[in-house]
Symmetry: D4
Subunit: 249 residues, 8 copies
């Protein structure tokens, strides 16, 4: 389109219909992205079948609904994260086919089937039962983005044998997401067992000196395993997102 | 220049010397800022006679010298901040006319006289004698950027009458920079006396629970005077810079 | 007035109606600001048509009402910030013409039309939709203080082209307020594009390691753009206030 | 062993081998505590007519009542701090003569009239209206402990003239309690005006980077006035208590 | 003096030698403190024989010397705190009678004998041997300000009997300064034993999670003894100063 | 059991019923702990009559019930910590013989009598009445793990004589748990009196600069008594657990 | 090998040469990893031609040398990070062919040519010139691990056009490492431009409220771009390592 | 008064009016400490052959020597911790038989052979080679206090098999000290493998967000293994001390 516009203008310059001064003026005041830069894909989340995502926290059901309605017109799949169950009935009235996962508090609405584009399996490991909601958010996200995802829950470091007995799963994964609260030690142990990229997600699970997840976060950033990188506290969505990008390479 | 380039290309299109396809290709691959966007001035620090600035900390005399030599070719005035005196002799050998201010540890080299473009006076107020180096950095910066600058030193809140007795200076300033360490209370008092923009600069002066300036910084951010905004700890340069921008309006 | 008072007293001294001892006594016991210092305007918020401002948080509707009633007697415009909607009906009963903005939770009551005294336009830029309430508080404040204000919302750094395409607005503003949560990167980018004073307002928007806005605050204080100065977290009012002072210069 | 030692000594006293003076001397020099410690008054809060104090936060009305009933038997005055109004009716049923101050959330029950033992006046200065509850807690405490107390409210540093015009009160006080939130600058200014002990009380008033009162606390600890010492955030009771001890000297 | 000035001016007004306009002008431009307010003693540190104090840290011997020379002209005693021994020879050359205390790194120069004005004894208690320099700074300060001061060193809480065996000293003191690092528990214990004002000084002594004295500071602020108030980390001078003010009441 | 399994397999190999390849395969795929490592007891909490423990916070009554039902099948005693009273009725319907302690919010269900295996007495000391819930959690835990436990409550350092008068209890204990909020000084004093392992438990009791228990935690970590080690804030369960392990040695 | 051992043992059981009791005993006491688990590759850093890495900080030249000598026997390439130049001569005496990069302070010794195993290009973007040492450490690491690496330096957000003009490089990279200090905003902008995994490395560059890199770290963790994950401050090595793992998938 | 009381009692004993048993009983029941307190051993560190300990940091060789000389008179063994090697020659001149361990920077001087009083073995586990100095300090301390001590070094969680292969050592220990820096995860893993008291020692090893050991400290306090308790950062001495107390029970 922009190219068309430019082409047309150049033709008019060529034909003398537009003066050089006029053409110059137009070029100068063109909005940035309309020239050439279109090769930089700004519509980032929509490429390759990624879902459009709505951060549900702090939004009313009405607000979520109105955003969903605009999105659905573009034909994209929709993922709502951090949505309380209480908002579900209102949304279901307009989107009866949406699916809600109460553990991760995510809502999915599919305009088209999810196309599997991940190359390997993403393994989502979590330490304690309380970490599952965050792990589940990562799983839902990665699945919406076209990946095979395997859960491996409740394998915290205080019972290291539980993790050890699952070595097949660990060894066969392409990318590993590790979700842990409290001291956040699990990514170090996993990172020491397999040489795959490990996305560590600290959770706010714990009490007292866990500082709302800061302790787990700091622990993961200081991991003695070099294969660990870290996302924000409770950020299951981000972990699922970046793991999906890695799994497409 | 870019305009020249574009104009020439359009003329060649007009004359048929360059095909539309070729012109299109060139437009597409031009580095971003060469089209239209030139109205956004990227050469930010060089506009309106601003000095080019080198952050001297962590740079050797040799490194500073080599940057200065490149800059001087463009004909701009040069300001080096946070430069230890030890580096002066080496620089003086190449720039014998440079001036060094040991208090603020700044070095100035003028390619052309400073043009005064500030509309009013910038008043630089400081609390204790130990805050003077930071205040002085703000003064040098603002002067290099074309402002009349007035110092008002040693008027900390523990002797409030010293500040009070200078009401003329306070009332006649256009913009006020307030530099203070310890509890950082001075900007609140100044902000309560005159209705001018107050740029507060916390310093790392103090000990113990001053936390290297964090205490003064927090105090200033929580000022009960609404006219106060804050820059980083010991950032005299930044305060001088933003005050200069304000003083040009 | 004070001048009148002093003049009258001096005349009476001159005429012998008041003894020197009496005059001396009066001068000694005059409240500070009644002598000479009247040139220092203590009634700060009331100058130049500034609204009187009530910080609504933690005050009951009754308390707000009683303060408003006292203020309205002086004939000033009134701005109530951080007022929950629930308090509106009670206030409306006494002030039926007040206007309430639910987004910024501000209430305005005009005793006289706002006189436009700002010289240029204040641009209020915000990163995400969740930052709008704080941005809106800045807008309302600046408008009440007599400025033309332009909003530019939802131009966060993760989609930098949205900001880029608005270069006209950025270039034509006199002062720019930038409101952002999460990593607080937007002021740096804006400060890199235009050479105007940038008032950065961190918001508490985000989760986990955003630390209730501390992360955005620290980011803004460490901005690599020298034109940035910072106010307290969520302090839209302060940003609007200081921008107004700048815009009057 | 010691028993053996003592027994042996007593036997020698009995047998006349050791004189009473000698025995006394030995008993006196026995590792510390052995003798006479009763002269150290452990029943600290009850000396000199101090009220017995109950920290009401987190206690039910029933719990407070049962403690009050035990205390009243000893004939002491009683002060309950941080008691929500909701608990008042239950307590009033048993103690109809108790007095409740809703601002400071304190309850007083007098078994005997308060004996005035303070030597001078304690002045309680506060910055903003939101700081009054804490200031009031200090006032009630100091009055219960037998002091004349003067309030001086709403004299924050952003309007320094309000403080200045009250110089008589400042100069005539024996001890000064200064209560302030936000940047906590008021104690520095007061400490700079008069050479009396200043007890600074930071309050949790403010938002954002006030960090729940930590900012005011840090500011006060770093006061440039040497006459300032500090108690915990919102600790009006502690300030009243220590000021009372000082005022008795 | 000011009164004289005012009186003279009023007389001239009375006599018609000075016009009302002239008188008015003079009154307006008088520095604040010259009218009436002179009853507020701004020359704070110089009252009642207090020493003039120089904070020696970060000042060269030359700078200290030049300040001392100015001070000595006014005839006041001089106290230099935090002065490294290395600066002593240079100062001794000009002030051969100065006394230097290497433990507290304080230098004293007496223009006149110290007049004893404290009413009781100030007891300075310290926990460990490493806390002695800070304790010693408090002692020197309090002595320079005219007090009898008693040291009680090395009575940390891990050997509580050492403190207990000194009950006489504790009970006979007027004001108690308690200096402690590490967990900072000593002021609570002292405050529990005697009902006197306790000035707590946290020191930076310790390692690891002592956080440069923050741990001791926090501990003291949260003391369960209500008689404790706190000064900045390592601020022996401040403790001595405020204790002196208290001891004069 | 595993040994039985291995023995049987080896016998079948010996008898030729199972081929070496088959046996090899089985050995390879056995979950880690089933071979040899059974000597490492992974079923950690179930050894020696330890109760199975459920962390009740954030779990619904239904969730707790379903876990309890699974546990009770194994015949182990059950301890639920941090369980709100509101969940009790639902649980009592299925487990009418369970006992609930409202102070510590713990629920116990005994499948078999507790076997006493602790060697000495565990003394649980607490500072203030508000610390009792945490102390009580430690007591319940240690009793469930087979120990004689003695409480010693309300002996905070501000009334050191209360602690002193209980020296018999202190001296006769095998292990001492010390629970304290505010400044957390009690473990240091206890650790200075007796040479036994002291497990310090900071509580979140206090306000302002107690930072939700961080102050007490830091104080305990910096204890000047070398016999002190520390668990997480409010972690009465952990203290009871580790004290039990020590008391079995 | 272990399989061989097990097989042999089973054969001997089959043949009756080893009793079941003996076999059982051997199985029980086998070190963990000798059974089955050998498929978990513990020799992690040595797989696939990864270099062996020595963290040079805090090690003497002699210590580094002795580790290198052991490593070189295994025939692996060696990477020493954070090694000061002063240690180079000593190491060069034994390893004359080692290469030292003064910017990143890394030393490389190749036993065999680096085998290129990365699939795409790793782009290493840095904000300021002071960030280059950390960026360079990432580059050296990634090259040693068999990747094509492209640098893109000095493209900080305050001059966003510099980054924009390099869109080709950004778009063609497989994985992007972004190194930035101060406010750490660059990863958000890069993550908004291209949909590739972004490894963000905060640096300790800056002053005052940059808190030694914590500000940049927090900013990156709160990035509004979902493709960003973070490693420790100044951890160029870790970023290079995890990017290499991703680039092999 | 007490003296009177005592005198009177002694007179009655002398006169035979009061029997020795009666007198003894009275002395025993005197307010606390009065009698018999000698049974509370205040001379804590000297019991049972414990060494006297000198914290060497910040003390000159001369100071250490003079303390050692006083101590040696009592015939106790001496342990100096945190003593730089540079001080060794001076001390060796007076104590030629002292032994210095350069790794842990400890100096030992034995007046008598160490009596072994520990019941089991203390195992000291450390994560990385950089943690060894702290681990070694724990070992030296525990040996000086009469324990068999076993080291188990370099078994960090990133190579979990190294720890696993040492299960015999883990299982046979009585008490386990675990020393780790960075993320501090090792105590959790050890605590999950064996049911023994685990004393965790965080070290300051690491960089960036390790915050000088705070990260490891927080991780250990939040350990998911209930058998873990924690001492201060780098506090090998404290860990060795408390482990010794436990091992004597």
């Amino acid at each position: 389109m922009n190219v068309q516009y430019l082409k047309k203008m150049l033709e008019e310059v060529q034909k003398g219909k537009v003066s050089i001064a006029e053409a110059l003026q137009k070029l100068k005041t063109l909005p940035f992205e309309e020239i050439g830069c279109a090769t930089i894909d700004h519509h980032r989340p929509l490429r390759q079948g990624n879902p459009e995502t709505i951060f549900g926290e702090g939004k009313t059901a009405t607000q979520i609904l109105s955003i969903m309605k605009k999105m659905v017109e573009k034909g994209n799949n929709i993922l709502v994260t951090r949505m309380d169950r209480g908002k579900l009935p209102a949304i279901r009235r307009s989107f009866p086919k949406c699916r809600y996962d109460p553990q991760s508090r995510t809502l999915m609405f599919l305009c088209h089937p999810i196309r599997e584009i991940g190359k390997g399996t993403i393994l989502v490991v979590s330490a304690g039962t309380s970490d599952i909601p965050v792990a589940q958010e990562a799983i839902v996200t990665a699945r919406m983005m076209g990946n095979r995802v395997d859960p491996l829950f409740d394998v915290g470091v205080a019972g290291i044998h539980r993790l050890m007995s699952q070595k097949e799963k660990l060894l066969s994964a392409h990318v590993i997401i590790v979700v842990a609260g409290m001291e956040g030690a699990l990514p170090s142990v996993v990172g020491g067992l397999v040489d795959r990229p490990v996305i560590a997600v600290p959770t706010s699970i714990g009490y007292g000196a866990n500082l709302g997840g800061i302790t787990a976060l700091l622990g993961m950033l200081n991991s003695c395993a070099s294969s660990v990188c870290v996302v924000n506290i409770d950020n299951g969505y981000g972990a699922g997102y970046v793991a999906s990008l890695i799994n497409r390479l």
